[in-house]
Symmetry: C2
Subunit: 441 residues, 2 copies
Amino acid sequence: MVKVDIKHCAVPKPLMEEYLDKAEQAYDVLMEGTGAGAENRGWINLPSSTLDSDILDQCYNVVQRWSKNIDVVVVIGIGASYLGAKSIINVLTHTFDMQLGKYRPQIIYAGHNLSEIYLAEVLELIKERSVAALVISKSGMTTEPAIAFRVIRRHIEDRYGKEEARQRIVTITDAHKGALKTMSEEEGYTSLVVPDSVGGRYSIFTPVGLLPLALSGHDVVDFVEGARDMEKLCRIKDRTNPSMIYAAARNALYSMGKKIEIMTNYNPKFVYFSEWWKQLFGESEGKEGKGLFPASVTNTTDLHSMGQYIQDGERLMFETILRIKHSNRRIEIQPDSANLDNLNYLVGKTIGDCNLLAEAGAMLAHNEGGVPSIVVEIHNVTEYNMGALYYFFEFACAISAYMLGVNPFDQLGVESYKRNMFSLLGKPGYEADHERLLSNL
Amino acid sequence: MVKVDIKHCAVPKPLMEEYLDKAEQAYDVLMEGTGAGAENRGWINLPSSTLDSDILDQCYNVVQRWSKNIDVVVVIGIGASYLGAKSIINVLTHTFDMQLGKYRPQIIYAGHNLSEIYLAEVLELIKERSVAALVISKSGMTTEPAIAFRVIRRHIEDRYGKEEARQRIVTITDAHKGALKTMSEEEGYTSLVVPDSVGGRYSIFTPVGLLPLALSGHDVVDFVEGARDMEKLCRIKDRTNPSMIYAAARNALYSMGKKIEIMTNYNPKFVYFSEWWKQLFGESEGKEGKGLFPASVTNTTDLHSMGQYIQDGERLMFETILRIKHSNRRIEIQPDSANLDNLNYLVGKTIGDCNLLAEAGAMLAHNEGGVPSIVVEIHNVTEYNMGALYYFFEFACAISAYMLGVNPFDQLGVESYKRNMFSLLGKPGYEADHERLLSNL
């Protein structure tokens, strides 16, 4: 399902053994709930419990309601409230889906930035299309999605009237409390639940990830089943557990002085998968002055941009290579009698073959240049394999953060900029710092 | 035009003075041509010389030829041969241009990866659209674009016949030599020139950047004029020269132990601009075990993913904040009588105001967390200002690399993976390493 290969990771065997032992200890901390943030472990059994719940039916109900008359669904959320969904939808969807327009509804995103031009352009897109909004926010108070929802809700209500707007707005929020929960009840919006015990970046197997995925026409059952089977594998406490191997190898590399982990993929549809991964690891581990800096490249594209640095710049990094063994398509290189481009030596090979050999060649070159690699491999891109891959990284991340000695589930550092922003924006209750901040600017 | 603010960069004044002196020395090395790679300085006077040349007319001829009957132009190139064009087109184009389909031709990219599914999907997109190809490669032998061009040329020739294909294929390549030059002459393709003395990552003001930009409907004259005026500014050797201030500050920070420079922008259209910047600096400086690792974030989006790490993880980085003072659009936050989202305190503010204050709040929070910042500011997004911005970074990069003591214009490290890849692919002449590489895999 998901294989981890550490043959090229350059960790000496005794050190690897030491870190595999540490991974087993962290596994116990995680599974026994003795670590910091233990109350946030609700994600662990999400895959195995979701298939027996009515969560998927709740998703299908929304899909069915919107399947006939909605052209565009605006998913409103920021951070994990959009990144899980966007990353899996991008992996599974046709690159040119938006131009081809074969599938309805199309999914676009809002409330994940404060770009005025972006929101203005969202409004231009939706004004001549039948639109619905899916608002994802645990509290309903996060500034970016709250602003976007205020603007888009007004658009929908002005255009369709209050009554019909209720059919065109769905929320995913806390089960009991918060502004968005209150609004959902008062307005009569269908509302799905983010469980209390699941933090944002571990929420892809809740409606936060599953409903947008279902709306985009992909198979959520296969996705959850892949995760469920990976859950089984990750719960096995021995050295065949791929999540423990990955967690051990990357922590060993960190102990050897590596400061940057580059997620290296060879498929342009995985750009946002890497962004999801960066949030997962960066937010879980980047605290108390510690943690690997998560970066990403998409090759072979970036071999022609970041490749020079990786080969020959500061020796700060290792790579985690995401290998997809089969590409799901087949384009064989054809002969050309003139052969001016000198490519006839490739005749009979597929482009997928070339991609895998480029990956192998780059890995060995980087290894020789002092950049070790961990390889994480799936057979091909399917809902099932992707479900397994997401869960694999979640489990590995929780273990890895406990190995590092930090709480995998909090993100207190994110509050610092919010306090400053609220104060500068003049939010009631944040007046104290206003003058000090202004004088620092 | 482009302002650099180092008030928050945390470099002690004497150190800054020292590095400004070094920047002046590097300026002399660059302008007098006494440094490594001096033969590659053809980019310096491109903006001031292009307006008086016939290069723009050559671009307009292609635009005119394709303006009536072409739906999609496939730009085939990798690295700098697509990244400059893609980055400026993304900055200037409507986010949902592909869905709205108001402007023809649409620009898509190929040959910048070896993803089989990507190229298969390109073929699916173009098969029912009127298509042309713009092939950009100095040699014509780079594997990725050569493969894509072989596939797409066959598609165009099979569909339209050899004769019409000549009208639908344009190349940008070396003036005198190389596979693509030969092919262009033999097939009779219109061919524009990449000058010898301009390396890929400094080529945006040649047809490599200008023709795609013109095809996408933007004003190339304004773009070049902005660069020309910035060229004038950058040629002034004193401490008002913004490129020297930026080069000095980032090298001073590097000397203080900072290893990562994060390009931080607050506008989602700048994602590929950051990628262009990463290539420019990573490829120019990442050599001999030296150089700042270039990374990027797009806020406020990534304040909810990478923000935690930046605030509180390893203290490795500083930020270069790209500030756009005005957003070109205006959305004011409206009152809401229920105020369940608690946003009424923002009524009367624009989303652009909020974005700038979020930026200020995050900068101060990160400063307090030990992450200094350099601010690079433009007034708003126009062709003119963007031309100035691209040139600013090019000039600053050349100075910066000379300050670091490396050749700003070569990229020998990129050859390592290519040699391995060619050997693994069985390319004639690369047999020697084949067995050794296989045994290492």
